[in-house]
Amino acid sequence: MSTEHIDDVSGISTTGHEWDGIKELNNPLPRWWVITFYITIAWAIGYTIAYPAWPLLTSATRGVLGYSSRNDVKNELAAAEAAKGKYVAAIQAKTVSEIAADDALREFAVAAGGAAFKVNCVQCHGSGAQGSAGFPNLNDDGWLWGGSADQIQQTIMHGIRFASDADTRQSEMPAFGDIITAEQINQVSAYVASLSGPVQDASLIEPGAKVFAENCVACHGDKAKGNREFGAPDLTDAIWLYGSGETAIAAQVRAPKHGVMPAWIGRLGETKVKELAVYVHSLGGGE
């Protein structure tokens, strides 16, 4: 219950409310304040007429200015596209090697390719392009199909073992479990492992080298350095796509896994693929 009374000191009536003995004088507002208040009301009414405001059943009033934040975004995106136009045209006209050699173009392509990578590639290759078992690390200098910018572009465009692309990179290691004996598999695995590190049973190395010479050199080469024609990996280095060590090697000899990468040219178009190629090439392992 509020009770108004006249304040003794100021002679002004109170609002009638009381908080712990404190009462508020009912002073009138300054005129400029009241005028400003009315202006804000008028402004609000004008605003709801000019801009989208009043909710209707399925949408809202459009406002006489026809403003829409979606149009704003559309215009901003169009402006951004237009600003990129110069670079995009240059990327279309040049080869990836030429793009990688031009400072400004490379910077643009690395940024654009990095963004495209985050959307399309990280699912298999990881957000840092670090790969995982079965999915190659793109930062290192081991390349199954070649690490020049043009070779990377070719791989991204047509994919690897991607059945619906005629130009896809194709190779298949036979399942040696059906061809050679289990003992031979152990021997050849020990031999291959010995090329890049110590093995448990050194006596297996020599027979293993014989098995290798009979069965593997056609693709992996007589020095086991691999062959990019067939995507045959270098077996002497420290990089192992399907795991290092004799057990992992034996498993791969017995029944090899064959990774598949889709062809991206149809989905992303040539410009994006070039940008991606430049980006991957710039990660540190490019040749």
Binding site: S127, G128, Q130, G284
Partner: protein, 519 residues
Amino acid sequence: MLDQTQVERLNAEAVNSAKIRQPLYAPRRKIFPKRASGRFRQFKWLVMAITLGIYYLTPWLRWDRGPFAPDQAVLLDLANRRFYFFFIEVWPQEFYYVAGLLMMAGIGLFLVTSTVGRAWCGYTCPQTVWVDLFLVVERAIEGDRNARMKLDAGPWTARKLVLRVSKHAIWLVIAVATGGAWIFYFADAPTLIGEVFRGTAAPVAFATIAVLTATTYTFGGLMREQVCTYMCPWPRIQAAMLDENSLTVTYNDWRGEPRSRHAKKVQAAGQPVGDCVDCNACVAVCPMGIDIRDGQQLECITCALCIDACDGVMDKLGRERGLISYATLSDYNANMAVATAGGSSPVNPSLVRTDEGKFSDKLAHFHIRKIFRLRTFVYLGAWSAVGLALLYSLLTRDRLEVNVLHDRNPQFVTLSDGSIRNGYTVKLLNMIPEPRTIVVTMQGLHGAEMSVVGIDLPADRSFAVPVEPDRLKTLKVFVRQPANQVESAAQTFKFRVEDKASFETDEYTATFNAPEIAR
């Protein structure tokens, strides 16, 4: 039939009767400050000339920084994120200087307020200065207080219309010039002024001019003292900083009361009479429209014009100046005690004077000593400490810096020969407006070599790179260490940068990560 006195009188009242109706708003009571003259007015003219001069002229000062930086002495280059102040150039990451300056401003305000009260309000606040300027225009066109009051009360004649229109026109010109001067702090002033007059300047420049023109005109011309009374938080804050030894504009009622317009008559009747002749000169000159004789109040900005007005009257009457004066509360209370015989009687001005009519020796006077007290020393100490810290950091700051971001994804890469590679984003900051060649060297990390994307250098432990004036250069650096040299999973090493010409150097200690098995 009832007699009319028998009709019952009901106790009822209309809900909107004038007695209980509240006004919706309080209209402004117009104030027509009279022109004051005296030493404080002189001082205020001087302060006005200096502050307005600083505001309008600063952007036009030139300062040669060579061909790679603007030659404007004070420039807030928002587009390039640089702030230039004469010989100082501030980058965004050095913005803590502004925080330091704000601290100094805050503590300086404590210091000033605790010694000389609301001096900021009365002399240097832009609101005070511009209102003063607008009043000069008003007086020049419409005349002094009486003429203005007469004009305001009079009917709308052609003369009134001409005077009013020309007054507002000049106010608007000042307002446009004020808003216009602001934008010159943010771009090259001589270029911008041409663009403004040709209409080719950026829309934000015109919008800024429009907004500041509106605020200057409204606050300086139309709202004036209402800004201080209603809108500004300063009076409330500053009042809390005053103490009993702060100088404030004070009406010395210990010698002024009882005031009288007919002193001789009152004296003849044997009544005590004070120095105040109730001429209201102090009220007439007050730009806030208050009566200082009511005591210290929130509205008082301590502009001291009432002191000038009262001193003028006292001079004419042949009495001592200082009926209204800068005084401290402690002095005032001491003198009040003398005048009231320790509070036992009403003010009797004869108690503060000797028989010869001179002031009594018992009166307290302000002494400069009062400024030097613990509180002001603490403020001064804090203020100087911040200032010296800023100065030290300014004089010793780096103009060549290196920042390094270690790639975290992946943290390391195993290469085909088993060696380990880490990637780093190295940022070289050339913070002077001259091109420089920076030598980047690796220190530590046995057997490691660097390679840089886009720079063809033989893999090495040092390389030189040109950096544009006043710019940051970002490099992608790969560091590679042979497997047999890796000592631990996380080794530290240094990127050291050097400008061979000026011998400036900077270092960054980075980490090199390797897998545990590489050991």
